[in-house]
Symmetry: C2
Subunit: 157 residues, 2 copies
DNA sequence: TATTGTTATACTCTATAACTATA
DNA sequence: TATAGTTATAGAGTATAACAATA
């Protein structure tokens, strides 16, 4: 079926267009699109462990570390030892990081509006719902399922 | 609005899930997900120039070249001088490349089915349509459009 | 002059495996 | 034994700029 066969490439084309546009927009702020995602993830749930952070932005622990090293060097994030687990380190935005994120969020607004505006108003919600469903389904059995992560989670579900 | 704000990350999560799953599936065939896209693009339109190829898979010319060098070394694609334009080179699949692509297409089928199956049947077509629309909209004014259209594009200094 | 492709270069993200130190 | 993080290492994709050959 055509729709089935076109779905993967259509998804890729849409994401790549978003990624490139975001990259271009944030270049003058010296932040990559993925670094923005990391900052945004921290802005929503501060004091995550590196592992939690990686899971929420679907990145490898060593990838996350590489990104954190870059951002820490620039004073946008900070890492502290976890209060109850000496193995872990909690990651949070510095005041400068928080400022930077607010800038970026503002700078990215027109992109979000462009995307949203391209859609029929009554179909946007279904799009987000279906994208989320696809992500969930594709991750089943692929992502290393871990135990009760929520034990360390500071965020209330 | 929540839908507007969640759209970019939902798109990213869905694509990354697809990308990782595809990467894992094709690893045993020694082909990356992006290399598969290149092969698929060639399978649909053989004898493209490198530039055309790059445009169709939305990749930079130098990126395309890097990928082609890898694939040429493995005998999956071949480059020949363009019949009428001595500057250009046409790219096409070798017989081995064609065989490889058929294998990959088959190997990827369950992923396409998983994605498609996760959607309400009456919403799949709209999803593809809206993803395509998003890609088109976001690429406007960002991608260097070539050919006749470029004549009207005076906005780039 | 504009365009196709190459080259050199650099950087981010990605990922695996071996390692430490804790749990 | 299992987990959090680090380190070393490697590779793919990305992108820019300077360049040659050709249109």
């Amino acid at each position: 079926m055509t729709v089935k066969n076109n779905l993967p490439l259509a998804l890729r084309a849409a994401y790549l267009a978003l990624h490139r546009r975001t990259e271009a927009r944030f270049a003058q702020h010296d932040v990559t699109a993925d670094q923005f995602v990391l900052l945004a993830t921290l802005a929503r749930g501060d004091a995550l462990t590196q592992r939690e952070l990686g899971q929420r932005m679907s990145s490898d622990p060593s990838t996350v570390r590489a990104m954190l090293v870059l951002l820490e060097r620039r004073g946008l994030i900070q890492r502290e030892s976890h209060p109850t687990d000496a193995r872990a380190r909690t990651v949070s935005l510095t005041p400068a990081g928080r400022r930077k994120f607010r800038q970026l969020w503002k700078a990215g607004n027109s992109i979000r509006e462009t995307m949203f505006g391209a859609l029929p108003p009554d179909e946007a919600a279904a799009l987000v719902r279906n994208l989320t469903k696809i992500a969930e389904t594709l991750n089943q059995g692929c992502v290393p399922v871990r135990g009760p992560i929520a034990l360390h989670s500071t965020e209330v579900a």
